[in-house]
Amino acid sequence: MEFKHKKLANSLDIIAEVNKDAQSAAVGFFVRTGARDETDKINGTSHYLEHMLFKGADSLSAHDVNRCFDDLGAQYNAHTTEENTVYYSATLPQQLYEAAKLWCQLMRPAIRDDDFNMEKNVILEEIAMYKDLPDFDVRENCRALHFGSHPCGKSVLGSVESVKALTSEQMREYFGSRYTPNNVTAAVAGNFDFEKICDCIQAGCADWQPKHADRKKEYFAGTAKKEHQKRKNLTCRHICLMSPTVSYQDQRSYAAALLAKIIGDDTGSRFFWQLVDTAVAETATMHCEAMDGVGAYYSYIRTAEENGSKVMQIVEDIFKSLQKEKISAPELQKAKNKVLSSITIKNEIPMGRLIELGFNWVYLAQYRPIEDEIQRIKEVSLDDLTALLRDFPLMPFTQFSLGPE
């Protein structure tokens, strides 16, 4: 694996990890923008804009874009979160350069009114689709409750009202302020020639006008509020819990990820033994989401409606016991083994490696080789976990749940 980096004159970073043994190559554009960078009035714009990029640029229609990607045999997609919009594709190595050229064009979208109006229907259907997925819905509501007025509480999809009210003019203005060269990273992983890919990206992006985009970052520990909503179409109880933890930039993020595995991995964790193995809950998981300047543990539990209070009693007992009793060395070692083998498996595929590579650059402005990641995980000690639990106790937590009427 060989790392390469080039910064264009307008501040756009091109980062790459070359693996000559790979069968494919992946390219991605990581834009540091998401729901937290929107105002209430234009909530949902980042995600809607992600859709609009695929509607083409001045010289490309939506159908041209779809056809070009399919001509390349590309596996491609994009996703938007609270703080990132990521566009990516994987192709056979020889098709990578054409894929990159296409992305460069799409990064300067036309945002035509006809396309904008048609795509609004698709976005509204997507909002409706997620309404029928309570595990998503409960997380979305819990995040809003946890972050309160902090920007990270904003909905990625936006509401039916905010999306309906959005104009193409507002979207263009948002685009101009967020898709600036300093706010975009082009990342490449797999089997390719660095000079050649740089030439492609430079030819497509060097004329982007330099403009500075930034983000207001404020730490927020969460509201610790509790809310339950009843829905007439539901059968089970869906519970989401959130509590604060470290940010992506914090060295302790590896310890936080391991702690979440110890508590809420889908096998062999504390949640597993006390909730799932005993059939009190069907699913009980926890993961750590280390973000830009903030962080949160998310737990999701699905159980029979009548088990709701029993589940919460067990969860609280687990959280309390972690404050009193030390985590055991074998528990930590098992969590490490799981994380380490995931890293190995994920990074064997260029598309998996691309995401890691891109985010490390977006959040840390640095390259972390896989060996470095592995070393950092291996170095986490029991004392690190104790200190983390002292600084970020799991209680009080924000709780949002959904259940039948």
């Binding site: 043994d21 790979a22 069968q23 494919s24 695929f54 939506a62 159908h63 874009v65 779809n66 056809r67 399919d70 001509d71 390349l72 045999g73 590309a74 596996q75 994987a90 192709t91 098709q95 048609m118 795509e119 609004k120 229907n121 698709v122 976005i123 259907e125 997507e126 409706a128 689709m129 309404k131 029928d132 997925l133 309570p134 179409n233 539901l234 059968t235 089970c236 096998t267 062999g268 033994w273 193995d277 005993t278 059939a279 069907e282 699913t283 699905r302 029979a304 074998p330 070692q333 098992k334 083994n337 799981k338 380490l340 083998s341 995931s342 190995t344 498996i345 064997e348 260029p350 598309m351």
Partner: protein, 410 residues
């Protein structure tokens, strides 16, 4: 890219397959156990789901906790699922721990503790899973679609039914395990970094004492493809559509795959273009090929708000039927590129390759090489696809809707 396939058969009939991948440090394996949803007695629907959980609750003299700790200690990522004919146990891990993991899986398959107290937990979890399906109309639509498309018992839901799960006993499940974990039909496939010789000698040691059992035959009932609706007070109408096509054993298999690709692979495909891009009817819409050994279909899902449901359904059916009118050279070229490209990219994943090898062997009695698949795709022409469509017309559809409104099926 390696093109070697390792094959070894134990004297008792168990098949061992290996796909070496020199560029990786991991290994993945897959056991196909012939105890899927369609092979259990009629009053035991859901038993394979219970068994899938129960066999992991202690094995080879280890308690449930000891076994889980050992699997976790190997950094093993495990998956288990119930298919029509099989229980599928898969795992991926660092290659150094492969042999240790295989030893543990041999105990899970041959010497599970099958403790009766633990059985109740497994059964309860299966009941929980079944009831949570009520909150997932998209998933439920696709399970119902297969249930109504394939002749019973082939399309049975892997989650089972509530009445059978409630009446299921540990004794009934033990009986199912003893009758169906037939060694001569078990397929083991590994992909990634491994040493085939040591793997085979270990598997020989672990599995060779098992005697083959009588192969079970299933007699599927006749099924007529009709429309079913379930009322659900959600935001969308979830539409499932399935039409019969050829199985992987057919000479027309690759023509069928190209036809599906033109309909739905990629965003320039016909269904995506007509339903989402031109009309904005859906966010989620797509069709895919699905096959059992006996029968195959092209299944399609679309989710849309109630006032657009009929139009969405009509547009999809029109696109299915229109395909026989003709296709362009460009469409054929894109379909071939897409199929070949995803084949190569999937081949980078140890898990995908192990599962594909096991399934190939079950379906075809051999493992197709990547080159063979590429060559078969290359041979497809407009004429061959049209001839296939003429002999296999898309005219009968099984249709399912779950949601606040019904549609009028064609």
């Amino acid at each position: 890219m390696t093109e070697r396939t390792d094959i070894h058969k134990l004297a008792n009939g168990m098949t061992i397959l290996g796909i070496p991948m020199t560029q990786v440090q991991s290994a993945a394996f897959d056991f196909l156990l012939p105890a899927g949803a369609s092979v259990v007695p009629d009053d035991c629907c859901g038993a394979p789901a219970v068994i899938c959980d129960w066999i992991f609750r202690g094995a080879g003299g280890r308690t449930s906790r000891e076994l889980t700790d050992m699997l976790d200690g190997l950094g093993l990522h495990r998956g288990s699922s119930v298919k029509s004919k099989h229980i599928n146990l898969s795992a991926a891990l660092g290659a150094d721990n492969l042999l240790k993991a295989v030893e543990l899986y041999a105990d899970i398959i041959l010497n599970p503790a099958l403790n009766s107290e633990q059985f109740d937990f497994s059964r309860q979890l299966a009941l929980h899973e079944l009831s949570s399906l009520q909150d997932d109309p998209m998933h439920k639509t696709m399970l119902l679609l297969r249930e109504h498309f394939y002749p019973d018992p082939l399309g049975r839901s892997p989650l089972g039914c509530q009445k059978d799960l409630q009446n299921l006993t540990a004794q009934m499940c033990k009986q199912i395990i003893s009758e169906n974990f037939n060694i001569s039909e078990i397929i083991f496939a590994v992909a990634g970094k491994y040493d085939f010789k040591s793997l085979c000698s270990l598997l020989e040691k672990l599995f060779s004492s098992e005697k083959p059992k009588k192969t079970k035959n299933i007699n599927p009932k006749k099924q007529s493809l009709v429309y079913h609706h379930q009322q659900y007070d959600g935001a969308q109408v979830h539409i499932g559509i399935m039409t019969p096509t050829v199985t992987p054993q057919s000479a027309d298999y690759y023509n069928a795959r190209v036809a599906v690709a033109i309909l739905s692979d990629g965003t320039s495909s016909r269904i995506f273009t007509e339903v989402r891009e031109k009309r904005g009817l859906c966010y989620a819409v797509g069709a895919s090929y699905h096959s059992l050994k006996e029968m195959a279909g092209i299944g399609c899902y679309a989710g849309t708000t109630p006032d657009k449901a009929q139009q969405t359904y009509d547009v999809i059916i029109t696109e299915f039927k229109k395909l026989a009118d003709g296709l362009s050279e460009d469409e054929l070229k894109r379909a071939k590129i897409g199929l070949k490209s995803s084949l190569i990219m999937q081949s980078e994943s140890t898990i995908a390759r192990a599962q594909a090898a096991a399934m190939d062997y079950y379906m075809l009695g051999k493992v197709r090489s990547l080159d063979e698949i590429k060559q078969q795709i290359e041979k497809i022409s407009i004429q061959s696809v049209l001839k296939y469509l003429k002999n296999n017309t898309f005219e009968k559809f099984c249709s399912i809707t779950i949601g606040p409104a019904k549609i009028k099926p064609q």
